[in-house]
């Protein structure tokens, strides 16, 4: 494919609650990615930062903040904000720049610090803000994940044990991942014993918030060849498409779906990977592994179906037969996923690409997916826009 770029370096600051600045996490991730690529910082001509809104002024201009912290060297900068899809949008900006011939090498970077507990809306009486309204009437973030989870139970007959099995699997995957926040295995009984948050989801079904950082060094295929990395994994596709009206999935922070009286109801989650598959010129049957957005255990099952890794309603059966475990036919979240990492919003879409890169290079140690050739990610931002990236080797 002519639209490809190479991933020659990846880096991550371990996820956790470290109490430091997001700039520190980003710089650590960038330095690791540069060392991994084996190129000098001055070769990077474009810095594409994923913004973090919780960290104030420097977070809003993340590209410049990271470029300054790493040492001004005259590169161009860009900053992207798209909630959890920020990292993929930053990657898309870098890819466009490289494919347009305006830069050969780019740093794509995202890092975050997160507050404790529930994510709450901005203060004040603001009935025009859907985020304020839904909290006023008692609809929190886990409400949405629980509605999707309960819907699976009602329509497909999934059980809470199935959801628990996702957590058990992902905890096992992340157990040996040095970048993961939680490295502890759990049993189904542990999950069942955790407090109910939003029926049917328990505390251990829902991902935590974390600090963390992730960075990629991406470049033109020409540059990769010149530095002897012609075989580096490639970004074969990036989809950051919005939903199409009428969007049928009730999405945070909305109180209602679009009305489908004049346009057919459409699932944005199902539409998102289609552009990625088309762009990469491959299909779900070519995928060796997936890193999906397991904000909740049940959501991982939704994504498997939306990525067409199985038929609609068949994800729990695929999980039960062990197909999505490392060693199975199609491992899902070999990194441990958000279950082991927690959310570090602008970093997580990039962390997924880091994992695919390590896997495709065969550098994932005990969590290695044997013979991984094609990886896909799925990630979701607010209002139902999201991202999907395909990495091939």
């Amino acid at each position: 494919m002519s639209g490809e770029i190479a991933v020659i370096g990846v880096g991550m600051h371990p996820w956790g609650k470290w109490g430091r600045s997001f700039v520190d996490y980003g710089v650590a991730a960038a330095q690791e990615a540069l060392a991994d690529a084996g190129i000098p910082w001055r070769d990077v001509r474009f810095v594409s930062g994923a913004a973090t809104m919780r960290c104030g002024y420097p977070g809003y201009v993340a590209g410049a903040t990271f470029a300054q912290a790493l040492g001004w060297q005259g590169a161009e900068v860009n900053t992207s904000y798209a909630a959890c899809a920020s990292g993929s949008q930053a990657l898309a900006a870098a890819r466009s720049k490289i494919l347009a011939g305006q830069a050969e090498v780019a740093l794509v970077i995202g890092a975050d610090t997160t507050p404790k507990g529930f994510l709450a809306p901005a203060k004040g009486h603001r009935p025009d803000d859907p985020d304020w309204v839904r909290f006023r009437v008692g609809i929190t973030n886990p409400t949405y994940f629980a509605l999707y989870a309960r819907r699976r139970m009602e329509i497909y007959g999934d059980t809470q044990d199935d959801f628990a099995a996702v957590k058990v699997k992902n905890a096992e995957h992340g157990f040996t991942n040095p970048k993961a926040r939680y490295r502890k295995t759990f049993t189904a009984e542990d999950v069942a014993a955790s407090a109910m948050v939003a029926d049917p989801l328990r505390l251990m079904d829902i991902c935590a918030t974390s600090d963390g950082g992730a960075a990629l060094i991406v470049c033109s295929l020409d540059y990769a060849r010149r530095i002897g990395k012609a075989n580096a994994p490639r970004i074969a596709a990036i989809s950051t498409v919005t939903p199409t009206f009428a969007s049928s999935v009730i999405e945070m922070p909305d109180l209602a779906t679009d009305s489908a009286v004049v346009a057919d109801a459409q699932s944005f989650r199902a539409a998102l990977p289609m552009k990625a598959y088309e762009e990469a010129g491959i299909g779900p049957e070519d995928v060796s592994m997936a890193e999906v957005y397991d904000l909740s255990t049940a959501l991982e099952l939704d994504w498997m179906e939306d990525l067409r890794l199985c038929g609609r309603g068949e994800a729990a059966a695929m999980l039960r037969e062990g197909a999505t475990k490392i060693g199975g036919r199609l491992p899902v979240n070999p990194s441990g996923g958000l279950a082991c990492f927690g959310e570090a919003v602008p970093a997580q879409a990039l962390a997924q690409v880091c994992e695919l890169t390590w896997q495709l290079r065969g550098q994932s140690g005990q969590r290695q997916v044997e013979g991984a050739k094609v990886g896909i990610t799925a990630n979701q931002g607010l209002f139902g826009h999201g991202s999907s990236v395909i990495v091939t080797r």
Binding site: F135, R136, G138, P142, I250, A256, V262
Partner: protein, 147 residues
Amino acid sequence: MSEAIKPVLDGWFTTGDKPHLLGSQCANCKTYYFPKLESFCRNPDCDSSQFAIVELSRTGTLWSFTNACYKPPEPYVAAEPFEPYAIAAVELAKEKMVVLGQVVTGVGVEQLKAGLKMELVVETVPDADDPAGKLVWKWKPMAGEAA
């Protein structure tokens, strides 16, 4: 009595025995919106900015449901001690949309099942400034429906 109790949001719903959520309908393509939209139609094939305020269907079928086992952060105002409440996503057949709301007090998730017929009611909830509380819309299984 109940006339004195104010709604939690002005212009979002009617009160009384047969309350309705107030939405809007595009004058051109007829798409419905909740909360009401009065600026520019979101149908990509429609460029209308004319809307009528309409009462949305006050009954529908239960699409999915959950509950809140922990007290939400502000601006939510909870009774002390906090009582968990159920939440419903209800599909309105005429408007072809799903609308969220709390489920009426006394009905928990164990009494709910997808497909139940639900109706809109108003109920008082605590308020930070108003000792009498404020009115909010909630969903309630219709008579003979609770599982």
